[in-house]
Amino acid sequence: MIVIKIGGSIVEGLNPTILDDFYDLVKNDKVVIVHGGGKDVTETANRMGKEQKFIVSPDGKRSRYTDKETSLIYTMVMSGKISKNITAMLEKRGILSVGVTGIDGEMIRAERKKKLLILNEKGRKMIIEGGYTGKVSTVNPHLINTLLDKGYIPVISPVALGEDYEFLNIDGDRAAASVAGALNADVVIFITNVSGLLMDDKLVTNLSLDEARNLLPKIGPGMEKKVFACTEALALGVKKAIIASGSVQNPIKMALENKG
């Protein structure tokens, strides 16, 4: 069982041979895809006249501020646009797939963050209303296993159900880690649009939990999130976590052969 996290587009920034990798992979293994796509959400929201606001965490991470209306647009774009495009692209390549979210079958439940600690424009720490962002609490793998058993590749959008059945924006990398953990996956691969996790110009893959935790303070916030997701997946019992570049030839095959 392999869980693969990709960005919001299977065409943009990804080597098209990734479709061949999927095609070959699904012949012998169970494959689950988790996608991202924040950029697409921002574009559609802006076009709808709902200007997106971004907040900065005390340690410098920038993220969307998800109010109620944004959570609905987020859900719509993730599950109605990005997911369906990926699904159709896979099917065109001969891979039957089904796009689902954490809402479907109550697959992913998350806890809504009541309050968030941010840095405001004056650079001061400040507590604001949490909005509709969540931290995954449980992943029920039943629907995913049902689809896999019948030969469908699940394509999962990072939307979770909150306590009151509200839609929550959850981080795609961490969602992939949680899903991989719940499925007892052998491998989770985080495909990036930068060229892998480079340390001293050497690509870092197959981190052990301790190695990854040690790396965390040394890298920038963009990659940090993926390394953090690696540590989460490993802590949840996933055997291997890989961060790999999507721009190389056969990115998944290479990552699995440790050549990524």
Partner: protein, 57 residues
């Protein structure tokens, strides 16, 4: 500029004039953090609730 007293050690904490509701101030003496509450033009402090970070997309 106004001042409040730390709920932990009673030291004086200075609050910048342009502070907003929700901002965090830290006691210079004991290091404890508090959340600012504004009522009218007055500031008071309350224990800062533990909050998570935003990890959404």
């Amino acid at each position: 500029m106004s001042k409040v007293n730390c709920k932990e050690c009673d030291a004086e904490i200075t609050i910048p004039a342009d502070s907003m509701q929700g901002e965090i101030v830290t006691c210079p003496d004991c290091g404890e953090s508090f959340e600012l509450v504004k009522s009218g033009e007055e500031f008071s402090i309350k224990p800062a609730q533990v909050v998570g970070e935003d990890w959404g997309q």
